[in-house]
């Protein structure tokens, strides 16, 4: 079961941390580290906080920097946690 995707990631980030129009999360950019896309540690903490609220999950502090470091990593991490929660 996969319920979290890049479009949703972008939607959350646009509303909560701000995303410039020329920043893409697709294709080649999926694996670009958030830091290189211009997102700092505060942005990632805010993203994690938004996801925690929306899905009622707990994301440990370390996971924010280690497991959610790019758009794809973030999507995969959230999905793995959602699957784990269902299982």
């Amino acid at each position: 079961m996969s319920t979290f995707d890049v479009a949703e990631l972008r939607e959350i980030m646009s509303a909560s941390v701000g995303v410039e129009d020329d920043v893409y999360f697709d294709g080649d950019h999926l694996d670009v580290p958030f830091a290189d896309l211009g997102f700092d540690s505060l942005a990632l903490l805010e993203l994690a906080s938004q996801i925690q609220r929306r899905y009622g999950m707990q994301i440990p502090d370390e996971a924010v920097t280690e497991d959610m470091s790019s758009p794809r990593a973030a999507v995969d991490y959230v999905n793995s946690r959602l699957v784990a929660a269902v299982a």
């Binding site: 909560s16 701000g18 805010e46």
Partner: protein, 414 residues
Amino acid sequence: MNTSTAGAAAVITGMGVIAPTGVGTEEHWQAVLAGKTGIGRITRFDPSGYPVRLAGEVAGFTAKGQVPARLVPQTDRWTHLALAAADAAVADSAVDLASLPEYEMAVVTASSSGGTEFGQHEMERLYQNGPSWVGAYQSIAWFYAATTGQVSIRHGMRGPCGVVCTEQAGGLDAVGQARRLLRGQSRLVVTGGTDSSLCPYGLVAQLANGHLSSAEDADRAYLPFDVEAAGYVPGEGGAILVAERPGPDTQGRAYGRVLGYAAGFDQSARTGRRPVLAGTIRRALDDARCVPDDIDVVFADAAADPHLDRVEAEALAEVFGTHAVPVTAPKTLTGRLYGGGAALDVATALLALRDGVVPHTVGPTRLRSDCPLDLVRDAPRERPLRTALVVARGYGGFTSAMVLGRGDRPAGDI
């Protein structure tokens, strides 16, 4: 009188105005000269349950498109206004920032109450949902230094940045601090201030000061020096200015010069001593090496509180004589803008100096007998202007005065 640019430690070379009277310096100035009010019923939230329903809102401003997308959710509207105004001011100054050493550029803004609306939202989340709902940006959006920090980052200014909080005197005190820095090692200071506290908690807090007007008619709500004066209308917005050390590079770019400045603190209500305003004005004149006759126009604080109006009128009469100098208060068109108010008055005064016209005060019709002022009413008064005095007072006793001299920027087309 000191009329040469060489004697001034600071010239104002750029301005960005975002006010209820207009987004952009010229839009504001045309509205002021036309006497067009920016005051109306509050639209940013439903004010019907509150005793004050009028405010000066900046209707034409949305952060999206004016502020980098990243910064919109990360900062309060007060900072949005300042970021956009700072961009405009830097562009207006035509200064090449890349040509200036990074440590010789600084940012000093006034803040009256920080990111009030942002803070309210985060407190709502905290109390409605719990601590983990407070967002990561509360730590950088709400505090009083948020605007200075963001403007410093945006423009790469690494000099001695600062934030002055003296309520509605803050705009003058920030420019005063900018001048202090320009007398030292700084060459350019982005200064001034903005404010935006028109949210429910912000309004309720302002109500507590007892100075807000509860009038319903926008044209009759803010009437300084008038027999019907019954408080002021709150507003949002302000002005950001670029102040530079004068030199060959600033020639032809200066709206005006900061000739003199002084700050005092009024304790008359508590101590029974005389109010400090007249003395503060005299110190500002001395600092500018001016005598009262050198001042061509006064931009008044105009509290619209019977006692405070009388104190101001008496101070002006004491220094200048009764009816001796034109006095104006264009802020009746915007309401009082807290951290942005005195900065906007400086901008408006510089425009008046540039164009040789004293904008009129819209609203007051019957002056109190104890306010013997030549309050410019009905229409702008055209006359050559060399100097302007700006007076600002902040809640609790803060009292500041600044003397501005005309610059060498060509007059606008009015």
